[in-house]
Amino acid sequence: MADKVLFEFLHTEMVAELWAPHPDPGPGGQKRSLSILESIGFRVGQALGERLPQETLGFREELDVLKFLCKDLWVAVFHKQMDSLRTNHQGTYVLQDNSFPLLVPMASGLQYVEEAPKFLAFTCGLLCGTLSTLGFQSLVTTSVTSLPACKFQVVIRKP
């Protein structure tokens, strides 16, 4: 099916476009581009959060919401489920994906690890936006040790 590829191409172009015109790739410009990508992801996440959960108001706890993210949201956007979800039961969750579709075409191993964050910014925003529609303020960060596996750390802020 062509759908998967369409989103991957669009995403690659978004990142390329935001990075291209910077003649001086200093930390200030990079941060701005990262936050633009994150806020695009946030708005998409907000809309997906409204649209995806069909009749499942069974979100009694945070853990149910995180499971929804790992299963339904990941399947809807990336056509696969998240590989593992760990928690410390105190508001911090680590979502691990061993072959993240947006990183798979790039490399396998330690090459390009420094370039990886800009390809993950949109997805961080996506998670943050979906959580915000479902009622949770959160902070999402990523870490990549070797492509294409990556970890998303979600910290739910208590109100």
Partner: protein, 144 residues
Amino acid sequence: MLKTKSGSFYFVILGHHDNPAFEVEFLPAGKAEPKDDYHHLNQFIAHAALDLVDENLWLSNNIYLKIVDKFNEWFVSAFVTVSHLRFIMLYDIRQEDGIKNFFTDVYDLYIKFAVNPFYEPNSPLQSSAFDRKVRFLGKKHLLS
């Protein structure tokens, strides 16, 4: 003194800060515009029922909460979306099926609006297209 039921419906969508994002009144055909007093009373009844809506939300697993409250002759029914947006309906003639279908259809319509990137979540829904469609759905489900 026998109070005749007016057969009209008052529908309001409340955002996360209890702000009304959208409200509309459906009157059966042939009725005159009611006095302004009733309009403020409707808003008052809807907001007063919010505590009961929250209570029922924790007790039930459903999205549609059926009858939540009763004030004089008005029944209050609620529907809570996954993003905790509340749809409240005030009515005096019981018509649960019609109201449930109405809520589901308005929810579908609302999702389409929420996906629009130009719509600020929790802001008042001022689109005339939305208004027209909700009135059409109201006539279809509630006043038939």
